[in-house]
């Protein structure tokens, strides 16, 4: 069974159809890149998979391990193993990163029928994970993303990914707002989390990110559809020729 199946998905936002029948199949261990120009519907896809309110699915389905994902609340999806790394992680003043991570992990564990982690147990776990990703401990004491640089915010997303151990990670424009050094650090973090059980969907406008996170498959989106799929070389082809050819095709 596939891990994630998006079948002929049609999505509207405020009466305007953004996705016009999108199909995508992701199996465990695979890394898929979704590329496309601004407005092609890449971020809409990531939001709909995570369950963000404000999108109306008019047709098609999304299955996660064969289950209807669209029937689930966002928190149920998270507990099942769907993780969205946000393009713009929000700042939450007054909530420490440490408290947020502890609350979130225990909420997911509770939903899965697993035991709750006590503060010392959690501390031990989060320290290990932070260390493995070279994330300084003091980041955990600060308000969630408050005063974080662009790079720190993305590292916080990767820290969560490592901590929650999801089955599928959707990385929405992870490269936006990062300089080349920050990008490399973030990509290293993602690569460290690649595993045969875990799939990743890397959404990006630029080929640059794919120099660091090498995909197994590349899909080109234009005007709400996947217009071309191929191997990693497709990204290089795009870099040379641009998106214009696909916009005409779509």
């Amino acid at each position: 069974m596939s891990l994630l199946e998006v079948k002929d998905l049609k999505v509207r936002v405020e009466e305007r159809e953004i996705l016009h029948g999108l199909t995508l199949t992701v199996n465990p261990g695979e890394v898929h890149a979704i590329m496309g120009p601004n407005g092609s519907g890449k971020s809409t896809l990531s939001h709909v998979i995570a369950g963000k309110p404000g999108y109306e699915v008019t047709d098609g389905q999304i299955l996660f391990r064969g289950e209807d994902l669209l029937e689930m609340e966002p928190d149920e999806r998270a507990a099942k193993g769907v993780f969205l790394a946000f393009q713009y992680p929000v700042e939450i003043p007054g909530v420490t990163t440490w408290n947020f991570l502890h609350t979130a992990l225990n909420a997911q564990r509770k939903a899965r029928g697993q035991s709750q982690l006590s503060s010392p147990e959690f501390l031990k776990k989060v320290r290990e994970v932070a260390k493995s990703l070279n994330i300084p401990q003091d980041m955990l004491k600060r308000g969630v993303n408050v005063g974080f640089s662009g790079g720190e915010k993305k590292r916080n997303e990767i820290l969560q990914m490592a901590l929650f151990e999801p089955a599928v990670c959707i990385l929405d424009e992870m490269d936006s707002g990062l300089d080349i050094d920050a990008l490399r650090i973030a990509a290293d973090g993602v690569n460290a989390l690649r595993s045969p059980d875990r799939a990743m969907v890397v959404i990006t406008h630029y080929q640059r990110l794919l120099n660091y996170i090498i995909p197994d498959f590349v899909h080109v989106m234009s005007r709400g559809r996947v217009v071309k799929s191929g191997g990693k070389d497709l990204a290089l082809e795009l870099e040379a020729s641009g998106y214009a050819q696909f916009e005409d095709a779509a």
């Binding site: 966002p74 928190d75 999806r77 939450i92 947020f100 979130a104 992990l105």
Partner: protein
């Protein structure tokens, strides 16, 4: 004409009630005269209503309708119910001073082994046998505010606490107001706390209901005088029953180099109004006054503060957070006056309201009157809903809707709670917030 206005049926009933109660009210001579004058002032005004600017958002004629008859002194059964409630609410390590249905109850209080320099007496005792100066001080409030006037007329008991120069008390004092019975009744209390020079204390005030108490009115008044170089940490927790009314006032005066850190949390009572006046009488003093309202159902809570900067070089900070769900209504009125001599005043006020439902309401009315030219003053007020993007972020990380809301509400009120200087009291406020959030989900 005013007399006619007040002579409605309920006014008449109260008038009779005052006549009957008079024998039970402590104090003769000047005190009795002050009571009569206060009652007349109240009768002329009647319950405050929305056409009086100060009561615009809290129309007691509509919300409270009438003043209930004076509660009878608690009997053995009432005391038993009160004792059970006190047991749940008393703060560990604090010295409890318990008023049940407006009457001080020594048996439930701890007035033994008082530190040298600490005096605790009941209001009744002071009014019956105390010196005239103290009695006069207890009746200084003017009768312009009808609810203060009513309290002056009807007050039955309270605690009078005096802390001598140089005494810094380690043990907090906790005044606990308990309503004991199911019969609708009103209690009227008045307390005083005086700190000498170089003194310090922590005072907690709790308003609670015993099991079975339903419709009641708690009318309270607190006079605080903080001497030079003294410090008062103060927390007020209004956890009255859901059908109760709590109408409380406080008048605080600070000497020089004094420090007053006060925090109020209202999660109980159907209707509550807290009116505080804080006056700087000495230079280089500082006040932090912070509050949180946690309201749901049809609760109505009004905090009306008046910060009076009369002397130079003083600082005040007001941080207020209101959370209103369902059809609840939160009111914050903050008036700051900087008088002509009060140069170098530093006064700031920030109020924020969080509305959790479309039918909830929050009114913020800041007023700054500045008559000095070398001052730093500012205020800000915002009202809004929970940020959808934050909620989604938390839900995408596995928190249920209620859990995500709870975390954001805790963060929202956190800023006001953070300002509580005393660690134990801060924990108390955090725990009260958590209780409210748990009851919600």
């Amino acid at each position: 004409m005013n007399l006619v206005l007040a002579k409605n049926e309920t006014g008449r009933a109260l008038s009779d009630s005052f006549a009957i109660a008079r024998d039970r009210l402590p104090g003769v001579g000047k005190v009795a005269e002050a009571r009569s004058a206060a009652f007349e002032a109240y009768e002329r005004a009647g319950l405050p209503h929305r056409r009086i600017e100060d009561w615009k958002y809290t129309d007691l004629r509509a919300l409270m309708r009438e003043v209930l008859p004076l509660a009878p002194a608690p009997d053995a059964a009432a005391l038993k119910r009160a004792a059970a409630a006190v047991k749940l609410q008393a703060i560990r390590g604090a010295r409890p001073l318990v008023l049940v249905d407006g009457v001080f109850v020594p048996k439930l209080s701890d007035v033994g082994g008082l530190e040298k320099g600490l005096t605790i007496r009941t209001l009744r005792d002071v009014l019956e046998t105390g010196d005239a100066a103290l009695q006069a001080e207890l009746f200084t409030p003017d009768n312009a505010n009808p609810m203060v006037a009513l309290n002056s007329a009807m007050t039955t008991d309270g605690v009078v606490i005096e802390i001598a120069d140089g005494l810094v008390l380690k043990q907090p004092l906790q005044i606990i107001h308990v309503a004991s019975g199911p019969a609708p009744a009103a209690m009227f209390t008045r307390s005083l706390l005086r700190l000498g020079r170089d003194a310090g204390v922590t005072l907690v005030e709790s308003y609670i209901a015993a099991d079975g108490a339903k419709v009641y009115q708690a009318h309270d008044f607190l006079i605080i005088a903080i001497g030079d170089n003294s410090r008062l940490d103060h927390v007020r927790l209004v956890e009255d029953g859901r059908e109760a009314f709590n109408i409380s006032s406080a008048v605080v005066t600070l000497g020089a180099h004094a420090h007053f850190n006060t925090f109020g949390m209202t999660s109980g009572a159907a209707v509550s109004r807290y009116q505080g006046t804080i006056a700087f009488a000495g230079e280089h003093s500082r006040v932090e006054t912070n509050g949180v309202n946690l309201l749901n159902g049809r609760q109505h809570a009004d905090t009306t503060l008046f910060m009076d900067h009369a002397v130079p070089h003083c600082a005040s900070r007001e941080v207020f957070r209101a959370v209103a769900d369902d059809r609840a209504h939160s009111v914050f009125q903050g008036r700051i006056i900087v008088r002509p001599d009060a140069q170098k005043t530093d006064a700031k006020m920030m109020t924020r309201a969080l509305l959790l439902s479309d039918d909830a309401e929050a009114d913020n009315k800041p007023e700054l009157e500045i008559f000095a030219d070398d001052v730093t003053c500012g205020h800000g007020a915002t009202t809004g809903a929970l940020d959808e993007s934050l909620l989604f972020y938390l839900r995408a990380r596995g928190l249920s809707e209620k859990e995500a809301q709870a975390l954001l509400i805790q963060a929202f009120v956190g800023e006001a709670i953070e300002s509580i200087a005393n660690d134990d009291l801060r924990e108390l406020a955090i725990a009260a917030t958590r209780r409210w959030l748990e009851a919600r989900s």
